[in-house]
Amino acid sequence: MIVLGLVFSALQATPSAPANNGFPGLTAHAAPSVEIAWNRFYDERELYAQLDRMVAAHPGLLSMQVIGHSVENREMRVYTLNNPATGEDREKPAMWVDGNVHGNEVQGGEAVAYVAWYLLENYASNPRVRELVDRSAFYLLPMVNIDGRAAWFRDAHNAHSSRTGRMPFDDDGDGLYDEDAPDDLDGDGSIVQMRKYLPGQGTHRLNPDDPRLLEFVPPNERGIKGDWIVLGSEGLDNDGDGRINEDAVGGYDMNRAWPSFWEPDWVQNGAGPYPLYWPETRCIARFILEHPNIAGVQSFHNAGGMILRGPGVEAFGEYPREDVAVYDALGSEGEKMLPYYRYMVIWRDLYSVFGGFVTWTYEGLGIVSFTNELWNDAQSFGDHPQSGRAADHEFDDRLLFGAGFVDWHKLEHPLYGEVEVGGFKKDVGRVPPSFMVEEMVHRNALFAIRHAEAMPEVDFADVEVSDLGQGLFAVDARIENRRLIPTRTARAAQMKLGTPDRISIRGPHCEVVAGGLRSDRFRPEKLEFVERRPAELVLERGVPGRGEVRVRWLVRGSGSIEIEWRGEKARTVRRNAALP
């Protein structure tokens, strides 16, 4: 397999590579160079191994670096997709894609890996993919909370547990750390619910049509009572303090840890003692700060079917209008690519989040950034949406033959006596069943790739020299950005984030007298000429998306001149011209 991959990679720089190396489903007889089953999830070692196979098969395009270590000392790996033949990754606009910052939200990891796989498999055969890969770079970090993921696969959990990282935390303030986690009482690998039969004294009754379901019996004056009480998650009072499951491992949230609009634990539960407290978050922040070429950010979570943007909190206010327009354009494209997903604002449509990751990358760094919440169980029934536990059972019964549910069964609890335990397994509710996994990762990965396509691309539309007489020349340059995202977001310009764009002119016999931005196509005298250093114009607002900037210099001299545009988030471009 590796040998074949190497042969392939030697070919891949040539656009005339065999046409049957295409993405399966597009090309007949297509065979991927790395076969990966995308209808399942992989534990942390397996997922790295899949990416490593891609590196082995495409060493010229994909590389791996370790940027840090998790609390449990696992490698934090960034896989960089870049074609060195077209330049170093740092010279190009780059797309950051990560997933799984919440340990239980596992499919984010597969979606990140799929971004690499899709681009690699289609590089040789698809011109649009090749153009994107050749002009940009991708930084892919599949598992932010790799420890939480490992635990979710390895240990007994439910769909919601193992969200936290694994640094010990004294949730209940008794001086002991992580001493009372839920317990897998029956040892079946699932943490499900406990209920107890108390005839005539309960709060719930069994649904007569489906006794797996409990129904609440409201207090009433007719003397009608339930026969069951609900006792919460499977567990014991491990520390004998009279409470059950009150101090599980960790107990924090690495998506509340980022430095913009961060608030401490007592305002934003899970935030930790200060921003970037945990090593996973710190090494990622360092990497991102050291890569100002990152021009797009996508973070994959689950669940609910959402394409989320900030602000995370109402107190922030709204983002600048120009940036909202960019977000809206990508968001509405996303809604088309992702049926059952809605484009939403975090604080307004979901809940308040202080110190979120994508709010930091936009508000703190000025990068257009999305969080997707992968999988919406409304998808289970297509055009006949149903919701609630009964619907979950119907889906599970019809399409999974009940495999997702642990049937209620009796066991002896040391405190409660005879109880029943039962409920949905950890991979029901927040992750799709296997037959829907591939569609989910494909659609979401393609949304991130579409976002990457929108990263700025700057070029000179034209450069014109005109003789103004008396030895004075005007040099007019039109710089355009064909893509949706501006070279500097309005946020970046407003808060003076990063380095502004610069357009410069130089020549061995060229003296620059004045220079500035032109504000009118037809009236060259509408020139906002700068006070000093006219040879290098500073563009705090950059080059707008799908737009252009016009500059004019008044120069003296003769001979060749070179004009250069330089910015953090697009490739440097140069154009030569000559004074007559």
Binding site: G173, F261, P264, L289, L497
Partner: protein, 583 residues
């Protein structure tokens, strides 16, 4: 040799001090470390390293004590521009080491371990000791201040080569500064309402290396350690740093506090003050759209005010600190960690000196004693413009001398302190042409005269010694058992705190950052809890000054001796006891 210019200027060692003690000079980071190594009876702790690699070190004075014995933390020069505050912290360590068996020293160490971090910000501290001295606080990452696409291309520098970075004034019709009529050397802002026109532009001493007609506007470093803490962190301000705790120094200090939950109270010597002046207060639950309002919660402010009252009585200090402590260490300790955080600004150049020719008496050599300051000091030598409150009553009122003019009066009446002000002198600047360079010498406003230094340090130490008794200390006041039936007891416990400070500050209760008191009923040999409170109670609050928490249990036990109580805290001691028969 300029280094010691005003620290050793006077041979008069404070005669009014209780004992004749040598002056307390400023020490470089290496000198501090050397003196710390001489100290016996304290454990050496390494917190981390500064950005440039200098060690941030602490000494811990520990005597055996019960579990949960509190610690008192003393920190010097986290601001970086208060090098004498490091000497003060070191002084306390040396005094504790010299006389551990002194009555008051022993009393303190019995109540609390004492941890001293003399120099929390070594890189900025060293600016006092390099060949060019400057009051530049920033040590961390830089930004492109002037947005010209380049970073750090136009830093301040010692243009006239006198070993100090001071100030430059340049005659300019667009300038906004004029001379203070009370003292021509002091600058004030021209007041258009008085018909005044500015005469000078004022720049930090430096070149205009990028020829943008702005002088020294883009230094290599911008982030300041004491603006880099997470409480009220000012995002996107260059001096704050890239993000809260991005600087190795702030992170090391924060991690140290997080790793030492026994720290109950912190004294920070530096630019800020909350002992002389009451801090800005807030309600415990004041919020704006979920975001908490900054400030000290009123209940805590009252306790700080009581400590402040005693501080002023003990030390006589009236130097107020600089005002806005957003992003500072001391604000973080209180606001995010719930700790008692005492900020002390030990000295500033006095504002109340009188000239010999004035109607009142000469302040004389004793005039160097600390006297009231009328507005918060800044740590720079920059002129401060109008005295506070003057703009409001500007009309035709006689102009009050500026604070800088008052400080100059103090310098003039103390000839040995003359080096604290660099007279304005003409200089041909490479980019600006003729300028004048001068102003307060770096650190002139943070280092007391040598003749006063020992007295100030002794008084501060005296206050420090008194703090041990204030720290919350829990104890079991009562554990009694009343027989109700054979083998059945009603067990009552009372836990109290006789100290002034409560177990938890209001901030600690709000932030849930200081662990609760754990009250555990201990039952041996088959004794069984039949009712009442839980076997483990977590007590989140216990007031000061004799406040009491009470618990009751029903216990079945064969013997009274099978019933016990154990209480634990991280920072206010612990206690245990066996039940006694209730009379």
């Amino acid at each position: 040799m300029l280094i010691q210019a005003f620290a050793i200027a006077s041979a008069l060692v404070g005669q009014d001090a209780p004992a004749v003690r040598p002056p307390v000079p400023v020490y470089s980071h290496a000198q501090l470390a050397g003196r710390m190594r001489e100290i016996r009876g304290a454990e050496w702790l390494t917190l981390g390293r500064s950005r440039s690699g200098l060690e941030i070190s602490a000494l811990r004075f520990a005597t055996p004590g019960a579990r949960g014995k509190p610690a008192l933390l003393i920190v010097g020069n986290v601001d970086g521009l208060q090098p004498w505050s490091s000497s003060l912290a070191l002084h306390h360590a040396e005094r504790l080491a010299a006389q551990p068996d002194g009555e008051r020293e022993r009393a303190l160490l019995e109540r609390a371990d004492v941890i001293v971090i003399p120099c929390a910000n070594p890189d900025a501290h060293e600016r006092r000791f390099t060949s060019v001295r400057s009051e530049r606080e920033a040590t961390g990452g830089g930004v492109d201040d002037d947005r010209d696409g380049r970073q750090g291309e136009d830093p301040p520098s010692d243009v006239d080569g006198d070993g100090m970075i001071t100030w430059m004034r340049v005659e300019d019709p667009a300038g906004e500064w004029i001379a203070d009529p009370a003292d021509e050397r002091a600058l004030i802002k021209a007041d258009a309402k008085r018909g005044e026109r500015g005469r000078w532009k004022l720049w930090p001493e430096g070149r205009d290396l990028d020829l943008d007609e702005r002088v020294a506007e883009d230094a290599a470093s911008d982030a300041c350690v004491n603006r880099n803490f997470a409480e009220e962190f000012k995002e996107h301000a260059a001096e704050s740093g890239a993000y809260a705790m991005s600087e190795p120094e702030s992170r090391a200090l924060a991690d140290f506090v997080l790793a030492h939950p026994e720290i109950a109270l912190v004294v920070t010597y530096g630019a800020y003050d909350n002992m002389v002046e009451k801090p800005k207060t807030t309600q415990a639950n004041a919020r704006n759209k979920l975001v908490p309002a900054p400030g000290v919660i009123e209940a805590d402010a009252e306790l700080l005010a009581e400590l402040g009252q005693r501080y002023r009585e003990t030390t006589g200090n009236t130097a107020k600190g600089s005002g806005n402590d957003a992003g500072s260490w001391q604000a973080w300790l209180y606001g995010h960690r719930g700790l008692w955080s005492l900020a002390i600004h030990p000295w500033d150049a006095p504002l109340d000196a009188k000239r010999a020719d004035a109607a009142t008496t000469d302040a004389g050599p004793q005039g160097a004693e600390r006297k009231p300051g009328e507005e918060p000091a800044t740590s720079s030598g920059a002129p401060q413009g109008q005295p506070k409150g003057e703009a409001a009553s500007a009309k035709k009122a006689k102009r009050e001398p500026s604070d800088d003019a008052k400080r100059l009066t103090w310098i003039d009446t103390h000839p040995e302190e003359a080096a604290r002000f660099v007279p304005w002198h003409g200089f041909e600047h490479p980019e600006l042409g003729p300028v004048e360079i001068g102003g307060f010498a770096p650190f002139a406003r943070s280092e007391p005269p040598a003749s006063d230094s020992a007295t100030i340090a002794e008084k501060e130490f005296e206050f420090l010694l008194s703090l041990g008794a204030e720290l919350a200390r829990v104890r079991i006041a009562e554990l009694s058992a009343k027989p109700l039936a054979p083998d059945l007891f009603e067990v009552s416990a009372a836990i109290d705190n006789l100290s002034r400070l409560p177990l938890q500050s209001a901030s600690a209760r709000r932030t849930d950052s200081v662990r609760s008191l754990r009250v555990r009923l201990v039952l041996d040999d088959g004794a069984k809890l039949l009712g009442g409170d839980d076997a483990l109670e977590l007590q989140r609050s216990l007031g000061g000054s004799g406040a009491r928490a009470e618990y009751r249990w029903l216990v079945r036990a064969a013997r009274l001796g099978d019933i016990g109580l154990s209480i634990d805290t991280d920072h206010a001691g612990s206690d245990q006891r066996r039940a006694e028969l209730k009379p």
